[in-house]
Subunit: 459 residues, 4 copies
């Protein structure tokens, strides 16, 4: 069959250049499974409503099943002349089962069909991303457990701030990822809506039943306005926004993996299987995986901006601009899922250099706040205590010593309330364990956080 299925009113054939430029089948063929699944549900509904005979229903569904198998076996080759996955499959069906294939599109338009396919796809992928996040969370929790008790310098401004448990630091990422999961779950509700029945934009005069197809396809709702249903790509943008946040979190994690792997930090070692070498420098072992993921944040940010731009200022309802929704979505899904999965594996293979971390944890006057809080406990106002300790730090800098090295006499020169018990304070483990405020870094709190996380992950 030479022409397009919509060709009736056209005298001229589509320019080859245009055919190739406008075809989406190269990338939307990825939706084939969902397209066929949707068509099968549509056939069942049409039969139930008397728009297909039972025999026609069987023919169409059987034909669609065959097409599915052919595609999965790779024996069917899509080509640009078919425009998109929907037309390709309809046309193939007609070739296979004859004129009756032309009944498939009854009461339906590509406008609601493509919205359906993406929604089916994204429903699956959101669950997939959720699994992948859990996978990474699991790896983090495992590391947090395995290294429970290891103290590292906590940073603000990339300066040593206060000692914290390495596990507490890891659990910060657990929390970020937990929010990512919450956002995905929240966004799922707006994906899980069937647009079928909206047809081109106005609904159809044929006696279809949208509730039936929605139920067959496991949707929890049917779209409430047909014009909106075919114009709406919010759910893609909302998902991509969530994905951009995931990638942002991963970019931060990767920045730290890279920093910590440097000679200067030397906090961790990545396994060789997760690094690559240099074409020129024989000694190099590079943290390519975290670098690449850090870079891939740009990719997903870009897709988000791309999608928002596409939708800006479009009049209702469907416009062809919307075809630009799929490539960014597909690439976002792939990027996020691969990044999560590979980081989960990478973390399993990180060696933690505890001695180095603990050595650095006490460097840079990280216990100064403990001394200030000690003074507060002795009755001094906080701001005054802060000032006194600030002066101690300045004194130590000038004298080239650490706070721990000061004598009681020296301490008293800055605050007379200081007594021998100051030396209990000037201890890493003591410092960490004293941070018992909710969400703090004490061993007990972190242990509880790990337990809670394990429960969340196993539920």
């Amino acid at each position: 069959m030479a022409g397009k299925l919509w060709q009736g009113r056209f005298r001229e054939a589509t320019s080859k250049l245009v055919e190739s430029f406008t075809a989406s089948v190269r990338f939307d063929q990825r939706l084939y499974r969902y397209d066929i699944e949707g068509s099968i549900a549509h056939c069942k509904m049409l039969a139930q409503q008397g728009l297909l005979s039972r025999e026609e229903e069987d023919t169409l569904i059987q034909g669609l099943g065959e097409i599915l198998r052919e595609i999965e076996r790779g024996t069917f080759v899509f080509d640009d002349a078919q425009e998109d996955v929907h037309m390709a499959i309809e046309q193939l069906l007609i070739e296979k089962v004859g004129e009756v294939g032309g009944k498939l599109h009854t009461g339906r338009s590509r406008n609601d069909q493509v919205a359906l396919d993406i929604r089916l796809f994204l429903r699956d992928e959101i669950q997939g991303v959720d699994e992948d996040i859990k996978d990474l969370q699991n790896s983090l929790v495992e590391q947090a457990k395995a290294n429970l008790g290891v103290v590292m310098p906590g940073f603000t401004h990339l300066q040593h701030a206060q000692p914290v448990l390495f596990s507490h630091h890891l659990m910060a990422y657990y929390e970020m990822l937990r929010r990512d999961r919450q956002r995905l779950t929240a966004s799922f509700d707006r994906v899980d809506v069937s647009p079928l029945g909206s047809a081109a934009l106005a609904g159809t005069s044929l006696p279809i039943d949208s509730e039936v197809t929605a139920e067959l396809l496991g949707f929890s709702a049917v779209s409430r306005n047909s014009i909106d249903a075919v114009s709406d790509r919010d759910f893609i943008i909302e998902f991509t926004s969530g994905a951009a946040l995931i990638m942002m979190h991963l970019s931060r994690m990767c920045e730290e993996l890279i920093l910590w792997s440097s000679t200067e930090f030397d906090y961790i070692e990545l396994s060789e299987g997760f690094c690559t070498g240099s074409s020129i420098m024989p000694q190099k072992k590079n943290p390519d995986v975290p670098e690449l993921i850090r870079g891939k944040s740009g990719r997903v940010y870009g897709h988000l901006m791309s999608l928002l731009t596409v939708m800006k200022g479009l009049p209702l309802a469907y416009n062809r601009d919307l075809q630009e929704d799929k490539e960014p979505l597909f690439d976002t899904v792939d990027t996020v899922r691969q990044s999560l999965r590979i980081l989960a594996r990478l973390w399993e293979n990180v060696r933690v250099n505890k001695e180095r971390m603990e050595k650095m944890a006490s460097s840079g006057f990280t216990l100064a706040t403990d001394v200030a809080e000690y003074l507060v406990n002795k009755g001094m106002g906080f701001r005054q205590a802060h000032r006194a300790v600030g002066k101690m730090v300045r004194y130590c800098l000038e004298e080239g010593k650490e706070l721990e090295q000061m004598t009681i006499q020296e301490f008293k020169g800055f605050a007379s309330v200081i007594s021998e018990d100051i030396h209990e304070i000037l201890d890493l483990k003591h410092s960490v364990d004293s941070r018992k405020s909710v969400g703090g870094t004490s061993l007990q709190l972190v242990r509880e956080a790990i337990t809670r996380a394990e429960e969340e992950l196993s539920s």
Copy 2:
């Protein structure tokens, strides 16, 4: 007092250039109310925990109350040397109540304090945006009600597609805005978490009780990890993503307002009070408001990109880069709220040109799909019916006539099943009313949609 409150360890004064460059007080003063509210709750908790005497508590709370009144009366002038709203208020408090003011910051850091302030601010603003969306939804529903029954051409690809009710078109925007409200509500959960107690990044060794402050401030949760709590700006980005979607929806609405106000469309007339003139062309009456709002989508998209960029690749925990979170957030809030409110007013003043809409609704063979569906009802397969009607359209184009002008004989030349009843089909009202699939444009369905919307808005 000349120096900074953190000045103890410093020998040199901050460079004036640096002071001015790094100061945020010019814009974060907007948070003063939340900062003071948070400090008052903090004082109450400190007193309850024995970290302040009741007398000290009273002094501090009274001092904070006075500062609030001074700021609101405009008698307090912020300046760059104070760095930020937090330091400005603490310093003023110390000036006012003396050394005891230095106890305010006990068990607290600016890192958790600023996160608290923004969360308090955003909690309010999310509710404000929600109200503003409802305001606009109300205007749309009013117009939909007032114009119920008016038929317009439904568009796809900006080409006439099928006749729809003007009210159905308006209700499509109602649905978009409904999703916007859902997203806001979903995001609220991630804003409504108190970070107080996280201190700099590690929690504090002082016996504070974060649950108390959280409860006093009406939060439903306390952050679970102190490092995460001071590093996290997800809630700002999630809000801004939601705002970008709102502005995207408004940009589409504004595009249509502009199109419809053109001489060529002439579908609506904006009231003069919502238009402005030209400095050179005496006849001009321009739809400036929708143009400006369409343009302002760029502003919010830009803020989203800005925030995502700021966070990319930052190591934990707090970094000064985070200071760049506030201006985009404030401007996003203002832009979205103003745009919603002014559109609500504008819609109240739109005059709908019903005659023009209805005249255009039948232009461009908009009933062709009705004919195809008629043929399906007569038993023809849809694809065959589509082809037959396509040929009718081509014939009409060549003959310079409309479908309605074809004789039964002519019709039968394309499809022998056509009979006299075809003329019932070729009627705008009939077409619209036949679209009874869920979400369709029939009068009854649209009336129901309006009623449901009114219920939602009044709940």
Copy 3:
């Protein structure tokens, strides 16, 4: 050969997952021609400098030539284990010519090699884009010539402003595209710099001569700092910025093509070969091509944002994040070039509805400014004249008449200086032709603009 070429210091093999995740050969194979061209120049230089014997040089160059032919014949299959196009070709060369192939990488790193390849690629593509812009400019100039004299309403705020020549409007796009060409030309200087010799980041101790390779490859300069040379992706971002502006211009043009093709405007008709139909609505003929190009602006904006994000905050010198530069660049090049070319063809097939344009040109008081300027010529101050004509317009609106329909008496009521000659003013052609200020819309000026454009395009 099982291992990687850099494998010496590694005990573990690269994880398969990592191999697949980090491989760029799937997309950077597109650079094969430039990679081989660069390697051949490198060999020649190495031989000249005595780092290769003449025999070795011949062997390597012949081997590289064979590889080029194999790739172009499609008999060579790239796979992920080869990492990237550079390693794939080096490894294939070694398989082909033996151990001597290992001399190819003498005094070179992938870091300078990949920068070279992209620069060679982009040098070609910039020239290609320039040709494509000229192609589209040509089509515009042809239409401007063919329709010289046709008057249309000039718009501001999508409201009728003043009559202009349709050709003048088209030539506005010519000017935008002219600036696009200027920008490309300007950016070319920063692409046309050879990074070869920078090696990993520090240069090399081997006696290579970077001037020689630069000359062999036709570069006009050699990079001046080796660390910068391997870290720099400015030239990609600068190109993409220019591309974003091109797409922005095209999005405006496409918006107008879509508007003008609507039933309401009816200013132009796109040929059927450039439109597609609907799967459900038999009458539809949609302007898919301009819609899709308008949408594709989002794609290029997204790539720009992606690239800027990738580079943000990266320490020197090369980081693996930079691998994320190629896919956005390639897709930007393809998108821009295809969009330009297809629009050039589309414009050749646009039918202009002159009658409709001219009819609309006088609608909406488009000659009001002419009347005001007439009053200025009669000695009235401009602001006063503007006010008087504004009142005439209001009067006409109330009376339901056009300015042309006012009597001299009526005119005099608003401005006594008006006399019979006002009727000469109230004429479309007169109006257009009177706009003789530089860049104005008079027939003579537009004719000159067309002539100048033709000269520019033929040079």
Copy 4:
């Protein structure tokens, strides 16, 4: 005076809400100087063309001069009812000089006027940014000179790669900034074009002379198409793209300043005057300035995206959306200029820790490439040499030694060609000085680069 200057045709007053929403005078008042400068030139031209008498010319120019002085003295207060800076000044002029003030706007529209003002503003600011870049370049060159000879580890992938001169690293930034200057210079040509005479969009019928105003205002060209001239914001976007690249470069520099200031790196020390402390941790001295600038890259990226979004899909000619061009432009200018200037001062106050850098420069087998190149000089193929040295590194890692600590016997085990002279190779200074390929890090080349830079900066 109650009404708007364009009010003639309006019966209703502008809604207060709309007045406030659409007013730009709050931010565009920044252009007052350029607006008045442009108006004075316009008056001179009008007089020369006989459209103003000499007396009127004097009155207007004198009035404009007075307004300029009032604004600069701060005695004039802009308010929203005046809409924008143009209307505010025109209205003030009329109040000041009477009805003749109404002649100012003869042959001009706000559409060409605002384009003029921004172009005048940006012409100045581009030169300002250029000066600021030179200022920072100067600081870098000074540091490069002062520390000439200091060796640091060169990094790729944040892993030690090869030793480089610290000055060479600094000069890499010099080169980036040099390209930034080139881009500014290139973009200047597209700013330096006078749009005056384009009027609303069509030019004017009054006998103005655009060449005269262009010359009076020092423009090198007049815009060639009036429709384009009032629709064009390319020059703003092109400038902002260039600014985004500047900020990207600064974000990289700042990342390094932050890294190098960390306890782990300890390569540099920022002066106290450029750091701030912590509200809770008494010991903190944070690199706030580079952090903030790194964050501000987001701000400028966001503005770029905002501007591109605003322009997407706008039909010609002027639309009110364009008003959204000014705030991002102004903030971009301020952000870039402040960031450049403060970094120039900061670099003057950086203390370089030479001992630490040099100590680290030899850590991590940074001389492995030197050994490989030594082997090449001894006649071994590069890939073979790379493999041999890779094995040496692996051996050293296993034995816990450095390459320098290997005996000749050990070396010969990996490559028999190695002899005693290998120890000359294993020396930092030797390594650096051997990198003599163009752009390499040898002392001589870096010294030459500094000299060339000094020449460029003094020209």
